[in-house]
Amino acid sequence: MSKHQYAMVMDLNKCLGCQTCTIACKKLWTDRDGTGYMYWNNVETRPGLGYPRQWDRIGGGWRDGQLQPSPLPTMDDYGHAWEYDYEQRLFEGKRKPVMPSPTPESGVNWDEDVGGMNADENYFFYLPRICNHCTYPACLEACPRKAIYKREEDGIVVIDQDRCQGFRYCIKACPYKKIYFNEVTGKSEKCIFCYPRLEKGEVNACAAQCPGRLRFVGLLDDPESPVHRLVLVHKIALPLFPEKGTQPNVFYVPPFNPPKRENYGRSILEDPRLPLDYLVYLFGEEVKDVIIRLEAELKTAQSGGRSELLQLLIGRDAETRYRIRPQLVQIQL
């Protein structure tokens, strides 16, 4: 168990699906050889396939204290990179249409904005995903090289690139499939929660760049931090797939707003815009209580009252959303 634990809360009601976080992460960390298909941060449309596709049904994680089996996702699941044959059209004088090759069959955001149907109405929302920096990381347990460790000072889970030999047991074990194999280096890589930025007092790149201001970052054990208040005091942020048993430290404020038009004035739970079953699938039964709490806060604010929680969720400035404490987590050498 680490002494402290950095955590992130993402308010899914505010996510625009603009992928600015994805690009911020990609430019900073995965713009190298072998990392083209890696998205340490990705934003996927839910319901949907996700990235790699069907990751939520592949396997991994814990059950009754035992690691669960899982195949490795394949490049078919990530989607093969394709090229456009501009050469023949622009330089060789051929008049064939410019087509991608190989024919694309999958890829990151392959089913963006498709979503699902709730009765006769289409619905979807965005789910930004990073490594969950779990309290009980299945990847760490699975690594026979002991290359993965959870930093004692701040709970961030990292892969020692010197020890890693690319065996990929960690990828199988991770129920969120947030570790990627770099075939060029022969080693596996994952989100590092921007620890070099945190150590300098800067917030994670994905959070810093988010135009929707939906990310909150701080120490879970710091009573002053927004993540502590959202997760432990107000109890309105939940981990993804809690039944996978790893205890994620990335939490989500479930999407619940706006209500259906014809249901104005009625509870969202009576006839929700997003099917509750799907939210329960993602976040567990507790999501219903969270939505009731959020709705109550919303009603308070709408009737002229003041909601400290909603003010926090609005997160007008960086001081509200982030509390980075490099001094606190510094290891005394």
Partner: protein, 243 residues
């Protein structure tokens, strides 16, 4: 808990394959490997035609499959049964050749990134596949020169008796590793001269080692990529002894 159970499983499997020597970790050696003498340089043997190697007598060494190491491992039945070993001394070096039948040639030509920093290039080298494992082989011997009936633990040596592992991977080349017990294997960062080729269902891999005295224990390992072999998931021989 899991590690302990795996260790017990391995001990059971190993003890059925050969008897444990004195002190528990020490293991007794199997049959002997004949060593020929080659008048030329060692590197000539690395690229020598099979007919040149046929002058050295071969020893067929049984391969054992490690039991499942982890609860989550896919089961895999043994597909390889033996490795043929030839050895020759050449100009102060020991050259060892392993050949084994393998129906699948699991290798790839991996693109090498240019020397220029990736941020200066528009195109980066892609990861072609994330789920393939390559055929590989290795020769292991004790780091401390020793001869005699007892050898270090077959599980990558032990604290008192570290081992040198000459590892050759069909896609990634030759790398020297050292270990002193299971889970301690580390790459030294050094390579060594080696060659390998696949022809009509057979791998032939040649390792150039330092000259080792007669009586040195040697052990061999083969990884079958199509069976997702890597790490301890492999085929291994018990200790053999250089003649």
């Amino acid at each position: 808990m899991r590690i302990r159970r795996c260790a017990i499983l391995i001990l059971i499997a190993l003890s059925s394959a050969f008897s444990l020597g004195q002190g528990g970790a020490k293991q007794s050696a199997g049959q002997s490997i004949p060593v020929g003498t080659f008048a030329g340089k060692a590197e000539e043997l690395l690229t020598a035609a099979p007919v040149k190697w046929s002058q050295f007598s071969a020893r067929r060494v049984a391969l054992n499959r490690t039991p499942p190491l982890f609860d989550t491992d896919e089961p895999s039945a043994p597909e390889l049964s033996l490795v043929e070993v030839r050895a020759a001394r050449a100009a102060g070096r020991l050259v060892v050749q392993l050949s084994w039948r393998d129906a699948t040639n699991d290798t790839a030509v991996l693109a090498k990134p240019p020397d220029t920093p990736p941020e200066t290039r528009f195109r980066k080298v892609p990861t072609e596949a994330d789920d393939r494992f390559f055929d590989a082989a290795a020769v292991m011997y004790p780091s401390k020169h020793q001869t005699g009936p007892a050898a270090p633990s077959l599980q990558m040596g032990d604290a008192a008796d570290p081992v040198e592992i000459y590892y050759w991977n069909s896609a990634r080349g030759a790398m020297l590793m050292q270990a002193q017990g299971r889970g301690t294997t580390r790459r030294t960062g050094q390579g060594f001269p080696a060659s390998g080729g696949y022809d009509r269902g057979q791998w032939t891999v040649t390792f150039e080692l330092p000259d080792l005295p007669a009586g040195t224990p040697l052990a061999f390992a083969v990884w079958n990529g199509s069976q997702k072999d890597r790490d301890g998931r492999k085929y291994f021989s018990v200790w053999q002894v250089l003649e």
